[in-house]
């Protein structure tokens, strides 16, 4: 349970649209932080630009709202200057994968000791629904009115390949699992990357016949398959359902981490 004193009550209700999944991800993150027993003045939330990046504004801790895509660069600076602080980065798919892609792969390569939570809503939600690098092929957005013709980025696999110590993916429907994954990420030394697929009924669902919040949640729920099931299907040579994405813990390892206090 989240203690209400983690929220800036005077800022709530937040600006997110009806049914936006970002609020759920904030809940899960705060529940995990509370589980860790971190103090408010030892925790820093860093974010870039976008819907997801407004999250630290509603949390009563020290926070940095930085330039577009550079949240990881600022967070690396915070961690290097004050290794005793716990750094959590909130970021979106446009922030992390499009403009901040280079910062992302190099933060994973350096394995800086922080937790990155990516709220992947498959679209640039704040600016009016333009196609982002994670928009699925065939999806309709403002800039792809005939359907996205490019393949999408798989951010979790990218983090695994770039060398993050802990990588997990869940959706905003799987709240308990997401909370556990964030808590595991907070405990892991080195970079922990948690991709949370969220619903965006306003800008993604509206163009893709998923206008209702429940339709969008049902879409996420029915297209998520566990990593273990995916591996089993591959081993048995059975076809993987179309449009499915894997959820679960993708990697947990002990590469040397940077910025861990000894």
């Amino acid at each position: 349970m989240i203690a209400p004193d983690w929220f800036r009550d005077d800022r709530l209700p937040h600006i997110y649209c009806t049914g936006c999944g970002n609020g759920t991800v904030i809940n899960c993150t705060l529940a995990a932080v509370e589980e860790m027993g971190w103090k408010r003045d030892e925790t820093v939330f860093v974010s870039g630009i976008g819907c997801s990046s407004r999250a630290p504004g509603y949390i009563l801790t020290d926070s940095l709202h930085t330039t577009h895509g550079r949240a990881l660069a600022f967070a690396t600076g915070v961690k290097m200057a004050r290794p005793d602080l716990h750094v959590v980065v909130f970021t979106g798919d446009g922030d992390l994968a499009a403009i901040g892609g280079n910062h992302f792969i190099h933060a994973c390569r350096r394995n800086v000791d922080m937790t990155v939570i990516c709220m992947n809503n498959h679209i640039y939600g704040m600016t009016g629904g333009q196609g982002s690098p994670t928009t699925p092929a065939g999806a309709i957005s403002t800039t792809t009115p005939y359907g996205m013709s490019e393949p999408a980025f798989d951010l979790a696999e990218l983090a695994v390949a770039a060398g993050a110590n802990y990588v997990a993916r869940w959706t905003s429907y799987h709240v308990k699992e997401l909370t556990k994954a964030v808590a595991a990420g907070l405990q892991t030394p080195g970079l922990a990357f948690i991709e949370a697929r969220t619903q965006c009924p306003t800008n993604y669902g509206r163009h893709n016949k998923l206008r209702r919040v429940s339709d969008m949640i049902e879409h996420l729920r029915s297209h998520a398959i566990l990593v273990q099931k995916h591996d089993r299907l591959v081993a048995e040579g059975k076809p993987i359902p179309e449009g499915a994405f894997t959820v679960g813990e993708l990697v947990r390892r002990n590469r040397p981490a940077m910025g861990v206090q000894r």
């Binding site: 609020g23 429907y173 429940s214």
Partner: protein
């Protein structure tokens, strides 16, 4: 403990209707003062957290509390103890 929806925060997305295993949340029909149709509670005393949180000393189900994007669902202490009939459906 008593289950309450904070009318000043709820935006009426009805995600709680989708996830509650007891079906306590029902889609509302009337606009509130902010022009939002908030869910209504159907016999909230059936909620496992309302009944047993004090006994177990921890959060029991709490999925609605976690999934609510607007942080509108909470449990509050009932000041005077009110004995009431609990109906559990199987």
């Amino acid at each position: 403990m008593k289950l309450v929806i904070d009318e000043s925060r709820c935006k009426g997305c009805n995600l709680c209707v989708l996830v509650c295993p007891y079906g306590i949340f029902q889609e509302g029909t009337e606009l509130n003062s902010r022009g939002i149709v908030t869910p209504v509670l159907d016999r909230p005393e059936r909620c496992t957290n309302c009944r047993l949180q004090a006994l177990y000393g921890r959060m029991l189900c709490g999925v609605c509390h976690m999934i609510c994007p607007d942080q509108a669902i909470n449990w509050v202490e009932e000041k005077p103890f009110e004995p009431h009939k609990v109906e559990v459906e199987f």
